[in-house]
């Protein structure tokens, strides 16, 4: 902590707040993270009533308000619904240091899923990206139970006719 004299003569107190949290993944995210880590597989959960598949999996169906128990694998390919190239500086709150920019946040609906996920795309030139493009997950070799890392990124599928 320090008190700093600012240009107006007003004082301020500067301090880095550092609050560690061991976030509990719970039963549903744990299954999701482990499948990714151990089997390079993306799983969702299916509502027995409406049949909707949610990725990442969660306990309750938004529409039916019933407990979901059936885990189902979904594809590692999907459609890019929307994207944004983030290119402004801000603090990465997981480190307290600057966030690495630019990065492209990719909002993706995987084949076989009825909900969306967000990850990053290995392309930061917005002229080369279109909503509606097909994308594919690229997995890390060293997987640790971290969704942001175990899927290293998504990449645009150049030719999806196969």
């Amino acid at each position: 902590m320090e008190g700093k004299s600012m240009d107006t003569g007003a004082l301020s107190v500067t301090c880095t707040a550092d609050m560690p949290y061991n976030y509990h993944a719970g039963f549903y995210y744990s299954r999701f993270l482990k499948e990714l880590r151990d089997n390079k597989r993306i799983v969702g959960v299916k509502c027995f009533r409406c049949g909707k598949v949610y990725v990442p999996p969660r306990v309750v169906c938004r529409d039916c308000f019933v407990t979901m128990e059936e885990f189902v694998p979904v594809s590692d390919r999907g459609i890019l619904l929307a994207f944004t190239v983030t290119n402004f500086p801000y603090t990465d709150t997981t480190t307290g240091g600057p966030k690495q920019i630019p990065y492209t946040a990719a909002y993706i609906r995987l084949d076989g899923s009825d909900s969306n996920i967000v990850h990053c795309l290995d392309e930061t030139d917005e002229k080369r990206i279109r909503a509606g493009m097909r994308v594919q997950a690229v997995f890390s070799d060293d997987r640790t139970g971290d969704y942001f890392h175990d899927i290293d990124h998504f990449t645009i599928i150049p030719d999806d006719s196969v």
Partner: protein, 378 residues
């Protein structure tokens, strides 16, 4: 005031490291409270969640449990605190006449974060925060102040801890049921004197939900609605140095308001059981005084006399209280849920015989700066 009935309650068992996520816990108590009330989620026409961004480690943390509580379907809001304030909001929604059935859900996972770091953030960042003050050592300042003003002893405080941990043995939801003696408490590790480990509440994960309904719905849908007869809340000054820490004026004001609404003139006589927010052993004594259950400085002697034991004239915290389970955002709502079980006669081994009027109490901020008091009746 119009009538608000409580027609459903549910709690998880409190424990450290509950493997369920925030949302999974919230969903569990939501479902169980609905079952308890014999209702479905479609019957809820509004919800109130109780989330705090520090404890939950997330900005807009109420987002975490929106779907798990069915809050995405209906008007909803999020009231911080220990759940009593959330229940107050729920009651307001019903009393407005605009809503009929409110679901109030609180959840808390203290084992995710570092409680002292989180409670240090209660203190002014320009002033006292740098002193490393948190919930424990600030409460130690209050306990010392209370003891030195009124001559209350560490032994008397320890008796509260012994009683509440013993009561917890009859509560299947409690985190820390313990057979301990006054000596065990006195000899336990000093955290910040005069507060010792066994004067302090545990770090708990858990969730609680209650369902409140307007009079007609409550009567029609449920055989044993418990009625909210009075509510009061009030805040004291912020800086601890502004307050006489041995005094409980804000609580007295909140209680006055709740009693007036409920028509209670002699709380000691008219209240059959009280569930109060005993985050530390001494707090139970101070809150008894603020609630008018005894005179100022008299709570220690009252505990000596055994009146507050289960089976005494005015049992306090038959559930084991917060000393036996402390999921911060839940612990106030849990007091209401426990009071409801008492008034229904469903408190099993911790039942206070013939309880008709119960009091539930919650706090906010450091050293009980804010208080919220509910008077319930069957």
């Amino acid at each position: 005031m119009g009538k608000v009935g409580i027609i459903g309650v549910a709690q998880t068992k409190y424990r450290r490291y509950n493997p369920a996520s925030h949302a999974e816990m919230a969903y569990q108590v939501t479902r169980e409270a609905l079952e308890d009330a014999g209702l479905t989620i479609e019957d809820m026409d509004n919800t109130v969640t109780v989330c705090n961004d520090f404890w939950d480690g997330r900005t807009i943390s109420c987002m975490t449990i929106t779907e798990a509580t069915g809050s995405h379907r209906v008007p909803t809001t999020n009231v911080e605190g220990d759940g009593t304030y959330g229940a107050l909001m729920g009651a307001m929604r019903i009393l407005s006449g605009l809503h009929k059935v409110t679901l109030v859900v609180a959840q808390s996972k203290l084992s995710e974060g570092i409680p002292s770091v989180i409670t240090n953030a209660m203190f002014d960042p320009v002033y006292e925060r740098v002193l490393g003050v948190d919930a424990i050592n600030s409460s130690a300042l209050q306990m010392r102040s209370y003891m030195s003003k009124y001559g209350v002893t560490e032994e008397q405080c320890a008796k509260v801890s012994v009683k509440n941990h013993r009561n917890a043995k009859a509560n299947p939801y409690a985190h820390l049921p313990l057979d301990i003696t006054v000596e065990d408490v006195l000899k336990s590790r000093v955290l910040a004197d005069p507060i010792k480990l066994l004067d302090a509440s545990p770090v708990s994960d858990g969730a609680c939900a209650i369902i409140m309904a307007e009079e007609e719905t409550a009567k029609k849908r449920y055989s044993k609605p418990i009625w909210v007869k009075g509510i009061g809340h009030c805040a004291d000054a912020y800086h601890l140095g502004d307050r006489d820490l041995a005094e409980v004026d804000a609580l007295a004001s909140a209680a006055r308001r709740a009693y007036k609404m409920a028509g209670i003139k002699n709380p000691m006589k008219e209240i059959d059981v009280a569930e109060v927010y005993d985050a530390f052993s001494y707090m139970e004594l101070m809150w008894m005084e603020g609630l008018g259950l005894c005179g100022r400085g008299e709570a220690g002697a009252m505990v000596d006399s055994g009146l507050t034991e289960l089976g005494g004239a005015l049992p306090i915290n038959p559930s084991g209280g917060v000393l036996s389970a402390h999921a911060v955002q839940v612990a106030g709502l849990a007091r209401i849920a426990e009071a409801v079980l008492q008034l229904r006669g469903e408190a099993n081994a911790r039942q206070v015989e013939g309880a008709r009027v119960a009091l539930a109490h919650g706090i906010e901020g450091a050293c009980g700066q804010g208080h919220c008091v509910f008077v319930l009746e069957n």
